[in-house]
Symmetry: C2
Subunit: 452 residues, 2 copies
C-alpha cells in the first residue's frame, strides 16, 4: 500500500463537517460514571460506531462499567493500540456553564461540551484518522486495537487487572495513550511516560487521649514527634535525606537534557497566576524543567494534629498524621521507597512513627529511540509544522503504567486539547482546528509507524 498522506489530509478536510457531527453526537450523549448517567447508552454508541467501521467489538465486563474492546484488521502484522475512555466528569457547577454541557455547541471556533477534551474529542480524532484511511485506501496499514474504559473518571478501579486477565487483547507493538494537547501558539506536546508514585500515611500516637498542655514539659507530644520525623526526610534545599533514596535514579543522558530544550514553560505567568514568590531553590530555565521532570519527590500532601479551629486551646495532642507522596523516576519502586523510609525512621529514632502504605505505581518511560516515538515526532512536525515539545515523562502519574510498565509496550501521549480546555471544569472545550489537526496527526503517526 503506497499511502500518500496528502490524499488522506484532503479527505479529512473534505469530511470535516461529518467528523464534527459525529463528535457532537458523542458529546450529546451524557456518560457520567460518577452518577451512572447514560453509561449504557454511551457504550452502545461507541460499539455501534466501531462496528460501522468494521471493528470486531467485544464488551469486557468488570465489576463496574464495561471496557469496550475493538480490533480492526489492517495490513501486515504490526498492531497499534489506542487507549481512551468513554466516561466523563459530572457537570457541576452547572450554573457556571455558558452552554448546555451536553449540547455539542460549536461557537467561535470552539467545541464546548463536557467531554470534548477529556476524552471524547481525543478518542474520535484517533478513530476518524482510521476512518480516513479506510475511505481513501480501504484499510489502515497496520492492525488497530482500541481499549475504551468506562471508569477513568472514577479512578480506573478495574484497569490495572485488564492486561493480566487479557494478555492477548493488550498484545501490540505500541500504544497511544489517553490524550494531550498543545500550548496556544506553541508546539504540540508528546509525552513518553509518567513518574511513578509511592503514597504513605505517617501516624504517631504518644498516649491514648489528648491532654492539658500544662503536661508538655514531661509528656510526649505526637505533633512534635511527627514534625521532627518529617524534618529528617527532606531539608530546606529540597534534598531528600532518606538513605539510599537516590541510589536507583539513573544518571541523566545527553538526550534527556536535550529534550528539555524543546519544552516551553512560562515561568512569569505561572508565578503571577499562582501568586508565588519564586520557585523551589530559585530554579529557572532548563534547570527548572530538569528538576520538574527528572527528580523524584517527597511531598507533604497533608498533616493534622490537635486543635486547629478558631481561637486558642491549650492541648497536648496524643495523635498526629501526615500524608506523603513520592513521585518516582524510572528504576525506582514504591516497595523500595517504603522500605527505605522505614529504615530511615528507625535509624533516626522514630520507631514510634507508623507507616501506612497506600496504592501507588512504578514510573514508566518509553525509549525515545523507539519507532513509535520517532513516528510521533515526525508526524507532529508534519502536522503542526513546528517541532513538538517532547516530555520524556510527565511530572505526574497515570494509569498508563498498568499497560506499559507491566507489558513493556512503548507508549506515546498527544492530543487535541490546550492549556485552557477547562478539563473537569465548566465550559470544557477544544478548538475545531485542533480536532481536525488531531485527526491528521494520528493519520500521520500511523503512516510513519507503518514505515518505521
Amino acid at each position: 500500500m503506497e499511502v500518500q498522506m496528502d490524499k488522506i489530509r484532503a479527505y479529512i478536510d473534505a469530511h470535516k463537517d461529518e467528523y464534527l457531527s459525529l463528535l457532537q453526537k458523542f458529546l450529546r450523549q451524557p456518560s457520567i460514571s460518577t452518577t451512572n448517567t447514560g453509561m449504557r447508552e454511551m457504550a452502545d454508541l461507541v460499539e455501534e460506531t466501531l462496528r460501522n467501521m468494521g471493528f470486531e467489538v467485544e464488551e469486557i465486563p468488570t465489576n463496574g462499567y464495561p471496557i469496550v474492546y475493538g480490533f480492526l484488521k489492517g495490513e501486515g502484522d504490526r498492531t497499534l493500540m489506542f487507549y481512551n475512555h468513554y466516561d466523563v466528569q459530572p457537570v457541576d457547577p452547572i450554573d457556571e456553564w455558558d452552554v448546555d454541557p451536553f449540547s455539542g455547541t460549536i461557537k467561535d471556533g470552539m467545541i464546548i461540551s463536557r467531554g470534548t477534551a477529556d476524552n471524547k474529542g481525543q478518542m474520535l480524532s484517533r478513530l476518524m484518522a482510521i476512518d480516513a484511511y479506510q475511505k481513501v485506501y480501504g484499510k489502515p496499514p497496520m492492525n488497530i486495537k482500541v481499549v475504551y474504559e468506562g471508569e477513568e473518571e472514577v479512578g480506573s478501579p478495574h484497569l490495572a487487572g485488564f492486561p493480566k486477565l487479557y494478555p492477548d487483547k493488550v498484545a501490540a507493538d505500541g500504544v497511544v495513550w489517553e490524550g494531550g494537547g498543545r500550548d496556544t501558539g506553541g508546539p504540540a506536546h508528546i509525552t513518553l511516560g509518567v513518574k511513578g508514585l509511592a503514597y504513605v500515611e505517617l501516624r504517631v500516637r504518644t498516649a491514648n487521649i489528648d491532654a492539658h498542655s500544662s503536661n508538655s514539659p514531661i509528656w510526649k507530644n505526637a505533633a512534635w514527634r511527627l514534625v521532627w520525623a518529617l524534618n529528617t526526610l527532606k531539608n530546606e534545599r529540597d534534598e531528600i535525606l532518606i538513605d539510599g533514596f537516590y541510589d536507583d535514579v539513573a544518571a541523566l543522558t545527553d538526550s534527556d537534557m536535550a529534550f528539555l530544550n524543546s519544552i516551553p514553560y512560562d515561568e512569569k505567568t505561572v508565578l503571577e497566576r499562582m501568586e508565588m514568590d519564586g520557585f523551589v531553590n530559585d530554579v529557572t530555565g532548563v534547570e527548572l524543567l530538569k528538576k520538574l521532570l527528572y527528580t523524584p519527590t517527597c511531598n507533604i500532601c497533608g498533616i493534622k494534629s490537635g486543635y486547629i479551629e478558631q481561637g486558642s486551646k491549650t492541648v497536648l495532642p496524643a495523635y498526629a498524621a501526615a500524608k506523603l507522596d513520592f513521585r518516582l523516576v524510572p528504576n525506582m519502586t514504591r516497595e523500595r521507597v517504603v522500605d527505605l523510609l522505614r529504615k530511615h525512621l528507625d535509624k533516626h529514632g522514630f520507631t514510634d512513627v507508623e507507616i501506612v502504605s497506600m496504592p501507588g505505581a512504578p514510573a514508566y518511560r518509553t525509549n525515545p529511540d523507539n519507532p513509535l516515538v520517532q513516528a510521533a515526532i515526525a508526524a507532529s512536525e508534519e502536522t503542526y509544522h513546528i517541532p513538538p515539545a517532547i516530555y520524556p515523562n510527565s511530572s505526574g502519574t497515570m494509569g498508563v503504567y498498568h499497560f506499559c510498565h507491566d507489558t513493556g509496550l512503548p507508549c506515546v501521549m498527544y492530543g487535541v486539547a490546550n492549556e485552557f480546555s477547562q478539563v473537569h471544569a465548566p465550559n470544557e472545550n477544544i478548538y475545531v482546528e485542533d480536532f481536525i489537526l488531531g485527526i491528521k496527526m494520528t493519520a500521520s503517526v500511523i503512516d510513519k509507524f507503518s514505515k518505521a
Copy 2:
C-alpha cells in the same frame, strides 16, 4: 482576742450537718453560666448567705454575670481575700450521671453534684470557717473580703479588668484563690503561683490555591515550610532553640529544689493510665517534677495543612497553620517571647511564616517566705497531720495572675477536692471528710495568718 483553735474545730464538728445542709442548698441551685441557667437565683443565694453572716454585699455589674463582692469587718487592719466562683459547668453528658446532678446527694461519704469540687464546696468551706469564728468568738481576727465571680466557666472575660476598675476592693494583705485538693491518702496541695502563657498561631501561604502534587519539585509547599520552621524551634531533647528564650529564666534556688521533695507524682500510674511509653527525656523523680514545674515550654497545640481525610489525594498545599503555646516561668513575658520568636524565624529564613498572637498571661509566684504561705503550710500540717505538698507554681495558667501579678498580692491555693473529683465531668464529687477538713483548714489559715 485569744483564739483557741480546738474550740473552733469542736464547733465545726458539732455543726457539720448544718454546714453540709448549706452546701446541699448551694448545690441544688443550678448555676450554669454557659446556658444562663439559674445564674440570677444563685447570685441571690450567695448574697443572702453573705448578708446573713454580716457581710456588706455589693453586686459589681459586668457585661456578663455580676461579680458578688463582700466585706466583713474583723479585728485589726489586716485583710484576707477569698476568690471563688458561683457558676458551674454544664452537666452533659447527663446519661453518665449516677445521680441528679443538682440533687446534692450525699452517699458513701461523698457529696455528688455538679459544682461540689468546682467550686461551691471550696467557696463554702472557706465561708463556714468564718462562720465558725463568728459563732465562737464573735468575729474573725482580721477583715475578710470575698470576690465571687459568675463567669469562671466561660473564660472569665471580665475578671482581668476588675482589679484595675476597683483597686479599693482588691486591696488586701493576701488572697486565697479558687481551690485545690489532696491526693487520696496523700498530702494536701498548697500552690503558690502559676506559669504564664504565650499563645500564637503560625501561618504560611506559598500560593493562592492548592496545586497538583506533580508540581512539587518546583513549587513551594506550605506544609514543608511550616515543618521546617517548627523544627528550628525545639529539638528532640526538648531544648527550645529560640535565641534568648531562656535568658529571663531565674536560676533555681535551693528552696525551689527543696519544695520538689514534698510533691508526690505517681509516675507508674500516669504512664499506665495514659498508655504512654515513657516521659520526655526519660525524666523521673525530682528531675521530672523540676522539669514539669520550673521549665518554660514550647508546645504544638495543633497543626493542619492540605488533605488529611480518608485515602490518598496527591495535593501540594498552599497553606499551613500551627498553634503553639509557651508556658512561661517567672520573669518571662509573652511580649518578649513573641518578639524573640519573630527574630528567630527571620534569622532562620522564615520571613514567610506569619505570627498571629493570641491572649496570654504572665507567670506569677508568691514568695514562699510570705506570712500567708507560712500560715497555710502550718495550717495544713495542723489540719491534715502531715506536711503539705508545696507547688511553688502549678504547671498551668489561671486567672489568678490578674489579681496577683497586677496587684502584687500574695496568693495561696488549697482546697477540698481530690484527684478523682471528676471536675467538669459526670458524678463530680468531694469527700464529706474533706469538706469538713477544708473548713478547719481555712479556720487555721486565718488563725496563723492573724498571728504572723
